[in-house]
Amino acid sequence: MKKLLGVALGVLTAIGGFVDMGDLVANAATGARFDMNLAWVVIVGVIGIIVYAEMSGRVAALCGRPVFDLVRERLGARFGMANMLASFFINFLTLTAEIAGVALAISLASSVNYFFIIPIVAILVWLVCWRMPFQLMERVFGLLGLCLLVFAVAVWKIGPDWNALFSATTHPHVPGSENIFTYAYFGIALFGAAMTPYEVFFFSSGAVEDGWTEKDLGENKINVLIGFPLGAALSLAIMACAHLVLAPRHIVVEQLSQVALPVASAVGRLGLAIVLIGIFAATFGAALETSLSAGYVVAQYFGWPWGKRGSPREATRFHLVVLMSIAAAALFGLTGVDPVKVTEYSIVLSAAALPLTYFPILVIANDVRYMGPNHTNGRFLNAIASVYLVILVVVAIATIPLMIITKGGS
């Protein structure tokens, strides 16, 4: 019974944890601009993250090594270093975006100036990383993140023509007002948001810290197979809201407040309050995950002690990196950078760096000496993973040119 509760909590956490600042912005922006014509990318993205997150969890459970440890081991010191710097930088942008998201959500609920809130949020995030019981916080924020389900309620309240909505989703095309390049660029942003690398850094490191073994493989599967698809459904609800409410009015999503607007207009005051809580929780949870991921990436590359299980004394450099990253992200946020722009760049650059993270996972998941004879990838899984590897490489190659051609999607 207790075990069942644990699994249920894990699934719920995965749902709330799937959506972060990147997903909120990307889904609302594409829904407002492309209607449901890019919804298929969310599906493609979620299958990708399911396949690779499951592998990273399985590797962590069977050989006790987290993702970035493997990245260096298989790619070597030099390439691993380049990879570490790139991943750290992208993760830093994501962290900035998440902290800004928390601050924006609080500011929308209280009208306290966003710049006053950023330092407070940074301190809270750091305190949790420093000494709070992490699993508890993760679950609290994961569960509160479920408030975002109000986006689904909003869609239902708007009462769209369901057949039309379904057929718009299943028959995608490039809208007449757009060219193929911006369409591809927004698709890549959505894909990057769904497969953000910190998700596997965090997932696999957490599995190692929780001491997962072979018997936790079932829970691993259930979490990703149920949690992530439901999280993706949430993303689609956000997109549908923007499509139904914002697109007909020619509204371009450039502010987080616009993401919440369809819910307010369809569900009302209570709905607005719930959605702001949901945004707060989802971004705060993601801020925790990205803060820790900054430490994971660096510490695992250099082989330093890392983790939140022991006291900070037992992982001093790890905690120092986490602290400095949070401080730097807060300062970057305070320079007045546009948080939505930072979010967009963080997800697009994530997309460009995806093969760096996911390729080593795929190789190790096929290594008999690590996985034992019974737990390497099966043929079917390898076939899907290979298709995704090709997609990841194509996306990575196309991203930077597309960014230049479309001038960042404008």
């Binding site: 795929l362 190789v363 290594d367 008999v368 990838n377 993973a385 290979s386 590897l389």
Partner: protein, 106 residues
């Protein structure tokens, strides 16, 4: 000498024809016993030439077999790699970072 130095060495056969760079080192534990605990790590062969990637990822050792796509892409390159056993080496030139093999060996 460090392994990272050795990985910069070039290997030539006795006629001076270049076979490639050292890309890995094969180690066999069958030698003398160290401090009574375990067998020494004797370098048994040098892996020379391209194929460093497939080697490093484990595709050449039959430990990693899948996925098919990656295996095929990587093992294509590996065909150019040579395995040179240490007793085929005639001469080490540390200043020029060149290893020359005995006559009749390639």
């Amino acid at each position: 000498m460090r392994l990272s130095d050795l990985l910069h060495y070039t290997v030539r056969d006795s006629d001076g024809i270049e076979l490639g760079r050292v890309s890995d080192v094969r180690i066999v534990q069958d030698g003398r016993i160290l401090r009574g605990v375990q067998a020494a790590f004797r370098v048994d062969a040098l892996v020379v030439g391209r194929g460093g990637v497939a080697e490093r990822l484990g595709y050449m050792r039959a430990r990693v077999n899948g996925p098919w796509l990656v295996r095929v892409l990587l093992t294509r390159f590996e065909q150019r790699a040579h395995v040179i056993e240490v007793d085929q080496i005639d001469h080490w030139d540390d200043d020029a970072a060149v290893i020359t093999l005995r006559a009749g060996r390639r």
